[in-house]
């Protein structure tokens, strides 16, 4: 509070022109309404000329009515189409980062515009950039920021963002000035202050460009968060610094004395910390608001966006740092709103933000490229341009190395040299620098165009050149990549144990370490913050261990439901025997080693024929023996019967049954709470079930760890589910799945075969356990997890899975083998060569 009032005092008395903060507001409101386009108005394409009408017109050409929004929409469309084109070829995007590609598309577009108009009619205006394009990008970036990682590295990030930025701004400015004085640039009308201003705007490391590149290369998480966090905060700092220097420039050299400089420094801190604080305030507001939005779920997600934007504008209004404000708003509220809001709203928010951020990102880059055709800005000064590029690279490296050296003195895990190098190299300049340069005031800075042109060149240089070389560099330096960590309960639980252990050890040592702070914050948060910001429901379930558990369960449930839907039937629920899961898996593996050729064949089949469940046919052990029309009929009837039975027994409906209704304010989805609850419980129960059954498994299970690897190699063969549903032969699938169900039943009961004769569908043992005694929970639904691989008959796939990894494994091979194994057992000594007819018959059936 003290800072605040003093800040206002300073700002108002010192007449620092910080109040038009981020942007020079020298553009009319009209232009700001035109999103990012200023149109040349001299083209009067159409328009309704006369105001008096003589007769009633039926339709009128009203171009001018819609001109502005129309052009905006068209440009958005054009930019997004550019992205579409840029993303077409993955070979190119893997070499050139997307941001660079978009800039190049911008060049091309610019060329077209130039060819048509011979002038630049559209360009990126700072106002539009700062008010309509940037906020959502920053909000998205901060909202999706890995929270914990960010706060645990906050110190390092701040050091880099604040000190590093000041260092860059100062040194680049001074070094350029020195060179200018030394005569390296010829005759320019620039003083030290202007150079410093230029240095300040050049020190903005662009988050968009950086994220785009670093996400592509998957560097390790600490490096990622350092670069990402730095670039995000650095923008805010840059803008503040820019404003301070801008004020100095307008104040003029002679008037600057020690007092003004001190005021400048104070205003720097007030503006940045005030902005951050305001962001936190808004985060609190948002979190509290989401506590009560349960009844307006539809617009729940919108609140966050609007309030986030308001935090940006409010900071702007108070001449505080808007970027920092929205950054901290996003970072801080993330945890609480995720807990408070409905899961659907969270997803919605995430996607909406992504759409907006990606959209404006695309536009920014395209327009950056497009700006190249502006003739006015190209004031060439070789010395100035080359020296700028040289200095920003050199000083960036120096700053990064020095600050990291400082940080490493006290870091638990020091940042190693390659990481530091990549950090330095990752100093890509982007749209923020350009936006700031574009908002320079030509009256105060006569060489504005030179600066703008240079900025553009620097942006092109860093984004395109450094962007392209980043990936090879990372590979060449062998920078630690991000390890793909799965969501596991073990990991989460042990993390918690470790935290407890560390705090305990610190207590025993009697020192206040990092964990002391973490723990006390957690305690404080538990006790007060959560009470204030979270709904009571959310509070109950906010524990991370439970959270992971919940997520895993939800995933399973979703897979389960999706699978059911993609099958178009609930046949997959009929999962007869869990006990043999393990056994068959093992057997399959053993066979897999012996007969790889066959499996290859199978996968080819799967590739060749999309929408017919080939494998389910092939899997069928019966066709050569007992395939006749009557039996098929009978089976399909039985199958229908069982389907009805199942529908009665199980709560779920496939999406088909769900009548599409429209309601203005409520989502209507098939999963009502009860259903979700039911699914949830079932997944839990079935997990237990399968687990137990796995234990009873016949084989003692040797190396299970190798399964996932094996299966994942097959995974790409999985087909998207859709075509199947509408397939005219859908019935066929039904029949065969009935067949295969019975077969799998045999397979399932194999270990204790004496209960059911392995008869070829004569009395269809499949339904016996079902009708007789199956309580709902006997069928572990989530076991049927093949999801992607819809060509496999559901009940079979269900059996093939590992009880503990509900992933989309490809079960073709194991399953095939499993049937085979039953065959071989049922027919005592069936030889391998009946493989061939079987397959033939399989392909034959597909043509039925």
């Amino acid at each position: 509070m003290y800072n605040f009032s003093q800040g206002f005092l300073v700002i108002s008395t010192a007449m620092l022109e910080v109040d038009s903060a981020e942007v020079g507001l020298n553009y009319s409101l009209k232009s700001s309404a035109t999103e990012n386009i200023s149109t040349s108005t001299n083209d009067s394409t159409g328009g309704h000329g006369s105001s008096t009408i003589t007769t009633l017109p039926i339709v009128i050409w009203k171009w001018h009515h819609v001109e502005t929004p129309y052009l905006v929409a068209l440009w958005i469309l054009t930019c997004w189409l550019c992205k579409l084109v840029a993303e077409l070829n993955h070979n190119i995007t893997s070499v050139i980062p997307e941001s660079g590609l978009l800039i190049m598309m911008g060049f091309i577009l610019g060329g077209i515009v130039w060819g048509a108009d011979k002038a630049q009619t559209f360009k990126l205006i700072p106002v539009n950039f700062f008010y309509y394009l940037l906020p959502q990008i920053v909000l998205d970036a901060s909202y999706c920021m890995p929270n914990k990682l960010f706060f645990s590295n906050l110190g390092a990030i701040l050091v880099h963002a604040v000190i590093g930025t000041c260092w860059n701004a100062g040194t680049v400015g001074i070094a350029l000035w020195g060179c200018y004085e030394g005569g390296a640039m010829g005759n320019l009308n620039i003083g030290l202050l202007q150079f410093l201003l230029f240095g300040a705007l050049m020190s903005a490391v662009d988050p968009v460009a950086v994220i785009a590149v670093f996400e592509e290369v998957h560097v390790n998480e600490v490096l990622y968060i350092l670069v990402f966090g730095e670039s995000l905060l650095n923008d805010g700092v840059t803008v503040v610094l820019y404003n301070v220097f801008d004020a100095f420039v307008s104040l003029g050299g002679p008037k600057i004395n020690a007092a003004e400089i001190i005021k400048g420094i104070i205003s720097f801190f007030v503006v940045s910390f005030g902005g951050s604080f305001l962001g936190v305030v808004f985060a609190v507001l948002i979190s509290m608001l989401t506590r009560v939005t349960k009844n307006v779920q539809v617009i729940e997600a919108g609140f966050i966006i609007v309030l986030g934007y308001l935090s940006y504008l409010t900071a702007e209004m108070l001449s505080l740092s808007a970027i920092l404000s929205i950054t901290f708003c996003g970072v801080c509220c993330q945890k609480y709103i995720t807990a408070n809001m409905d899961e659907k709203s969270v997803t919605t928010l995430r996607y909406v933000l992504k759409v907006m951020a990606n959209g404006s990102e695309t536009m920014i880059f395209v327009f950056l490229g497009l700006s190249a055709i502006d003739q006015n800005i190209w004031v060439w000064n070789t010395g100035f341009i080359l020296l700028t590029i040289l200095f920003i690279v050199i000083f960036r490296f120096m700053g990064v190395f020095f600050l990291n050296w400082l940080l490493n003195q006290s870091r638990l895990i020091p940042i190693d040299l390659t990481d530091q190098f990549v950090m330095g190299y990752g100093g890509l300049r982007g749209a923020v620098a350009y936006g700031l340069a574009a908002s320079l005031d030509e009256k105060k800075i006569p060489e504005k165009n030179l600066m703008l042109g240079t900025t553009l060149i620097v942006v092109y240089f860093t984004v395109i050149l450094q962007g392209i070389t980043m990936k090879p560099l990372v590979q060449w330096l062998k920078v630690k990549k991000a390890t793909q960590s799965d969501l596991t309960l073990n990991g989460k639980m042990n993390n918690r144990v470790f935290e407890h252990v560390l705090t305990a050890m610190e207590d025993i040592c009697g020192r206040m370490g990092d964990n002391w702070w973490t723990r006390h914050w957690n305690y404080f948060e538990d006790k007060y913050v959560c009470w204030l910001l979270m709904t009571s429901d959310a509070r109950k379930h906010k524990d991370p261990i439970f959270g992971v558990f919940h997520k895993l369960n939800l995933e399973d449930a979703k897979k389960y439901v999706n699978e059911g839907e993609s099958k178009g039937s609930l046949a997959f629920i009929r999962n007869y025997d869990n006990a043999s899961v393990d056994f068959k898996k093992q057997l399959a593996l053993e066979y897999a080693d012996i007969m790889p050729d066959i499996m290859n064949d199978m996968s080819e089949y799967d590739f060749g024929i999309d929408n017919v469940p080939v494998t389910s046919v092939m899997k069928n052990p019966l066709p050569s023996v007992s395939l006749n029309v009557h039996e098929l009929d009978r089976k399909s009837m039985l199958n229908d019967l069982s389907a009805h039975h199942l529908l009665d027994q199980h709560l779920y409906k496939s999406r088909r049954d769900n009548r599409p209704t429209y309601s203005r304010s409520h989502y209507n989805t098939s999963e009502n709470p009860d259903e979700m609850q039911e699914i949830f419980q079932r997944t839990m129960r079935s997990r237990l079930e399968s687990f137990k059954s796995a234990k009873m498994g016949v084989n003692p299970a040797k190396k299970l760890s190798k399964h996932p690897k094996k299966d994942s190699t097959h995974k790409p063969n999985g087909k998207p589910a859709d075509p199947h549903r509408t397939h005219p032969y859908g019935d066929e699938d039904f029949e065969f799945s009935a067949d295969s169900a019975s077969s799998s039943e045999i397979a399932g009961h194999f270990p204790r075969r004496n209960t059911n004769a392995p008869g070829a569908g004569v009395d269809n043992p499949a339904f016996i356990p079902e009708m007789d005694m199956s309580p709902p929970m006997r069928n572990p639904p989530w076991q049927t997890e093949t999801a992607n691989n819809m060509a496999v008959a559901p009940s079979q796939t269900a059996q093939g899975r590992l009880p503990w990894t509900p992933t989309n494994l490809r079960h073709l091979a194991p399953l095939r083998m499993s049937t085979r194994s039953t065959d071989s057992f049922a027919m005592a000594d069936a030889s391998v060569d009946d493989e061939a007819p079987e397959e033939k018959s399989g392909s034959h059936h597909t043509r039925l």
Partner: protein
């Protein structure tokens, strides 16, 4: 400097201790001071209730287990050497130190850190984390937030995740495998012990 030496001299076999744990003299002295502060009765060793007197430790949900880790089975006391050796588990791994080929595995190696964590679960010291043992820890950590039923399914799922040989328990090998992707050096190190 003089006081440093004199404190060090008071500790028997300090050279060996430093060799084994890799602690610097400054660390040893600091830990020794702390040890003496904890040892209120001045017996030269610590009892469980000495640890229990640490206020924050009492708040720690698995505090008693951690205290238990200081005492080898059957023993009621812990002397300074053991005390330091236990704490040495949490010394960050130093990369600069040249590795002597013949030297024994340092106390702060990854697997030793893991072993320490493992024994927090494995209270009956049979080399396996059983469902009950896991359940106890989970209950301590999750507390009132979840129901017993949920707790049990969490425990089951956790075992399922790690259990490779299907014996319904987690052996150390399985424990290590399940944490393969976690940076133990990072998670089980205290900065000021560097």
């Amino acid at each position: 400097m003089g006081s440093t030496n004199s404190t060090l001299l008071k500790i028997p076999n300090v050279e060996v201790l430093m060799q084994e744990t890799g602690f610097s003299p400054a660390h040893i002295i600091r830990l020794h001071d702390r040890f003496k502060a904890l040892d209120k009765e001045g017996r030269g060793h610590l009892c469980p209730h000495d640890f229990g007197a640490i206020k924050e430790l009492a708040m720690n949900p698995i505090g008693d287990r951690i205290i238990g880790a200081f005492f080898s089975p059957g023993k009621e006391t812990v002397d300074f050497h053991t005390f330091v050796k236990i704490l040495a588990h949490f010394r960050p791994v130093d990369k600069d130190r040249p590795k002597e080929p013949n030297s024994p595995e340092p106390i702060n190696s990854r697997s030793n850190k893991l072993k320490f964590a493992f024994q927090l679960y494995d209270q009956d010291k049979d080399g396996k984390i059983s469902r009950d043992e896991l359940l106890q820890v989970l209950r301590a950590m999750l507390g009132m937030q979840v129901t017993d039923e949920q707790l049990e399914s969490i425990a089951d799922r956790t075992i399922q995740e790690a259990d490779l040989d299907r014996d319904d328990t987690i052996s150390f090998e399985e424990f290590r495998k399940s944490l393969e992707k976690i940076n133990i050096d990072h998670k089980m190190s205290i900065r000021f012990l560097r």
